[in-house]
């Protein structure tokens, strides 16, 4: 049995990892739940965002300031992606196939520019840490947690309490009916897709702050983040964060109690358990 301090530290690590899962899942769950698009390219965008953060930081920008450039640029990418998918009226399953194609294209692009070697962002954030009792907290982790919570809550509040949010939810429920009531559903869908891509940029910056980057690593996130999205409930902006925290903590405990290598099985097992116990929820 590991010591209390070690257990506490790994719990904390689980919470921070879970926040990042939630952040990655936010854009995915909105696209899947509200636009009926399973956007595998979201992972490639996150990594592209991470690499751009890395590159711009190396050029002297503060990592968080780079977001002011990357997020709007990604917003445009998201709009372009949706414009393409809407133009060809791609069904949900085929959106997964097409974005699979984009994923390998982006992976190749990243590999071509930055090579397949590992890259690590050196920022002044990385060294900042605090000691609370026996536990250490680093600034990048805290930033990730704060941003993940803030974005999820803001999206939730926007969808729930504003006219824009109501129009979006109506569009997700029944687009032609929403259109009949004067909602410009095509524009809303474009904006939402843009927002999802911007969320990928934010997740990318957070990823670059805490993790070492390699192009092939993007596939390692797919299983756990999709599990987070499905357990959290499609289209629910708070779902991925909550499910992410649960999975992050479960993984951390698994790592502490067994071996680190088994962590990838946790999310899948939880998802299978959810499918077995509550099939009607999916």
């Amino acid at each position: 049995m590991p010591s209390a301090a070690l257990l506490g530290q790994s719990l904390l690590a689980g919470i921070f990892a879970g926040a990042l899962y939630g952040l990655l899942g936010l854009g995915l769950t909105l696209a899947w739940g509200m636009l009926r698009q399973i956007n595998l390219a979201h992972f490639a965008l996150v990594f592209l965002g991470a690499y751009l953060t890395y590159q711009l930081s190396a050029a002297g920008f503060d990592p968080l300031v780079t977001l002011a450039i990357i997020a709007p640029a990604f917003f445009v990418l998201g709009i372009a992606l949706h414009a393409l998918l809407a133009r060809f009226k791609v069904n949900p399953l085929n959106t997964l196939l097409i974005t699979f194609g984009f994923t390998v294209m982006l992976e190749s692009l990243i590999q071509w520019i930055w090579s397949a070697d590992y890259r690590r962002l050196d920022s002044h954030y990385a060294g900042v840490k605090w000691k609370i009792g026996q536990l250490f907290v680093t600034l990048p982790e805290l930033l990730t947690l704060g941003i993940a919570c803030a974005l999820a809550l803001a999206t939730w509040a926007l969808l729930r309490y504003t006219d824009l949010g109501r129009a979006l939810r109506a569009t997700a429920e029944d687009a032609p009916m929403a259109a009949a009531f004067g909602v410009n559903h095509k524009l809303l869908a474009l904006l939402l897709s843009g927002a999802c891509a911007s969320f990928a940029a934010v997740a990318g910056t957070c990823l670059a702050l805490s993790y070492t980057l390699a192009p092939s690593q993007m596939y390692a996130w797919i299983g756990v983040v999709f599990a987070v999205v499905m357990i959290g409930g499609l289209g629910n902006p708070l779902g991925p964060l909550v499910a992410g925290l649960v999975i992050g903590v479960s993984e951390a405990l698994t790592m502490a109690l067994t071996a680190p290598a088994w962590a990838p099985l946790v999310s899948f097992s939880l998802l299978i358990a959810a499918l077995l116990l509550r099939p009607e929820k999916f």
Binding site: L96, L97, V104, Q111, L271
Partner: protein, 561 residues
């Protein structure tokens, strides 16, 4: 077969090993793409986890061959069984979920590769350094090892393509194609969808595992990162989509094209550009070539016409005794009580009118009796047998058929195939030839024979409604629910439909006729049952019931009651 026989001579011609190895790769990809297609192409459940099943085969052979010293041929049955079992376990969980079916399956299989890879990597199966298979004993089929691999891959590819062909032509294949188009309707017409999906998945995984078992020894050194690569899923889907997922030969053709393309890139200095290009081709194929290269040949030819062996008119057995007894059936949807204790009786040989205002629960009742929804309470007894817990396909086999108010034909099957489906899965299981003979009869009966080779999209509404009728009739049901067959028809089409309904009764079926057109109800029915708010409020002879103040009140509001 002939092609395979000719190709089998190749290793004995003394060609350089390069050609044999290249052809080996081509056949190996053909096996993977074709096996993927048996589940994913035919039934529409796209698997992104083919690498997991292929890899499970690789590592089964690796363990048995390198650690236990078995020869390659002895390991192969296990290389097929292990992935197949894996598929069965996974499928038995995923295929039960009724929402999001295809999407959920795709995303879960996407995760499976990574999960299997993790298990292999962290257990003694591999443990990290990879496994050497160069010492695994090979059978001697050809002068050189590369010739032996070539022959094994050729044999496996031939068998796999033959299986794909046999499934494509068979009753099993028809069921899978129906699942692809509309799984709910397929189930209600008697297709055991859950079992079919599982069987196709297990078959697909077993063949992929066999390819894996041979491939592990071919490359002689395997590592987790190379075997469980996401590229395998991408290539396999690309090959099948490029060649055509609805044709048995499509994936093999696609495999040949893509293997040549890949070779061109790996041989050149532009490996990364080649990856990006593959991604681009993938996107273009999905967007612009939905049917694949063989798409236009994918339509199955009708079998030669044979005479139907079933007599046209079923013998009338008895009459008047209760055939279906529904008691206190309740069904709620998130608080809306659609059925609140319905009770009714259908007597053998009658036409029972089931009427009621919109939202009174008529369609829900049909959905509950046909098994699509499970009743919250109450009992449904058909010929003395309790049906309320039965799966829809078993209810169909018991002899209950239905039509849909908004026609739901299988959109990629011809009119003939649509009508031939229910007899294949009815109480007397027919093969395709006999089922098509049966289908011709009902197409002639409903006046659709001229349209037999068309796809349903070529039909107008009135023809689609008749297609619904023909499908329900072809099942030879004892009891048939007609759900607003007259809605949307012109008066003259309506007369035709009414004649048809009478003719259906003459065939020996008992009919529950759900309709808003009162003229038809009065003209056709022997008795009428009235539903409002999920309850039976009246039953009896049509003209008496229509005079019942409660019924008038239900239709026109309380003031008239």
């Amino acid at each position: 077969m002939l092609v395979a026989a000719v190709l089998a001579v190749l290793p004995f011609l003394g060609l350089p090993a390069f050609y044999e190895s290249f052809m080996y790769l081509l056949f190996s990809w053909a096996v993977l793409a074709t096996s993927w297609n048996i589940l994913s192409g035919y039934s529409g459940y796209f698997s992104f986890g083919h690498a997991a099943f292929f890899g499970a085969g690789v590592y089964t052979t690796a363990v048995l061959g390198s650690k236990l010293g078995w020869s390659l041929l002895w390991t192969l049955p296990f290389a097929a069984a292990v992935p197949s079992l894996l598929g069965l376990v996974l499928g038995s969980i995923i295929f039960r979920v009724r929402a999001l079916r295809g999407e959920l399956f795709a995303v879960l299989t996407l995760a499976v590769t990574f999960v299997v890879a993790t298990i292999v990597l962290n257990t003694p199966i591999d443990g990290g350094p990879g496994v050497m298979l160069s010492a695994v004993p090979l059978p001697r089929l050809a002068p050189s090892p590369s010739g032996t691999f070539y022959l094994m891959a050729l044999a496996l590819a031939t068998v796999t393509v033959w299986i794909a062909y046999a499934v494509h032509r068979s009753r099993f294949g028809t069921g899978l194609f129906a699942i692809h188009d509309d799984e709910e309707v397929a189930e209600v017409m008697g297709v055991p969808t859950y079992r079919f999906k599982l069987a196709a998945f297990a078959l697909s995984c077993a063949l992929a595992g066999l390819a894996g078992g041979i491939h592990g020894v071919f490359v002689s050194y395997v590592t987790v990162s190379e075997i469980f690569s996401h590229w395998i899923a991408l290539y396999v889907i690309l090959m099948a989509a490029l060649g055509g997922t609805r044709h048995w030969l499509g994936p093999a053709v696609g495999a040949a094209a893509v293997t040549v393309l890949l070779y061109a890139f790996t041989a050149s200095d532009y490996a990364i550009a080649g990856k990006a290009f593959t991604g681009l081709v993938f996107i273009l194929v999905i967007l612009f070539l939905p049917g694949g290269l063989l798409g236009r040949f994918a339509q199955r030819k009708p079998l030669p016409r044979v005479a139907s062996t079933v007599p046209a008119v079923a013998p009338r057995t008895g009459g008047g005794e209760p055939l279906l007894v529904v008691r206190d059936v309740a069904k709620a949807f998130k608080g809306v009580q659609a059925l609140a204790g319905v009770a009714l009786e259908v007597r053998r040989g009658e036409i029972l009118g089931l009427v009621g205002p919109n939202g009174s629960g008529k369609s829900t009742l049909i959905n509950v009796v046909s098994g699509h929804y499970r009743a919250d309470a109450g009992s449904i007894v058909f010929e003395g047998r309790e049906l309320s817990d039965e799966a829809p396909h078993r209810i169909a086999r018991a002899g209950i058929a239905r039509t849909y108010q908004i026609p739901r034909p299988f959109s990629h099957l011809t009119v003939l195939e649509n009508v031939a489906l229910p007899p294949m899965f009815g109480k007397a299981v027919m093969d395709r030839a006999r089922a098509e003979a049966e289908a011709w009869r009902w197409l002639e009966f409903t006046g659709l024979a001229a349209k037999a080779q068309e796809l349903p999209q070529a039909l107008n509404l009135h023809q689609r409604k008749f297609l619904e009728l023909a499908r329900a009739l072809a099942a030879r049901p004892k009891l048939i629910f007609l759900d607003e067959v007259l809605s949307g028809l012109t008066p003259s089409e309506m007369d035709e439909a009414i004649r048809l309904v009478r003719a259906i009764r003459e065939q020996g079926a008992t009919i529950v006729f759900v309709e808003h057109v009162m003229r038809a109800v009065l003209e056709l029915t022997d008795r009428v049952v009235v539903l409002t708010y999920g309850k039976t409020i009246a039953a009896g002879a049509p003209r008496d019931v229509m005079r019942d103040p409660q019924v008038i009140g239900a239709y026109l509001g309380g003031a008239h009651a």
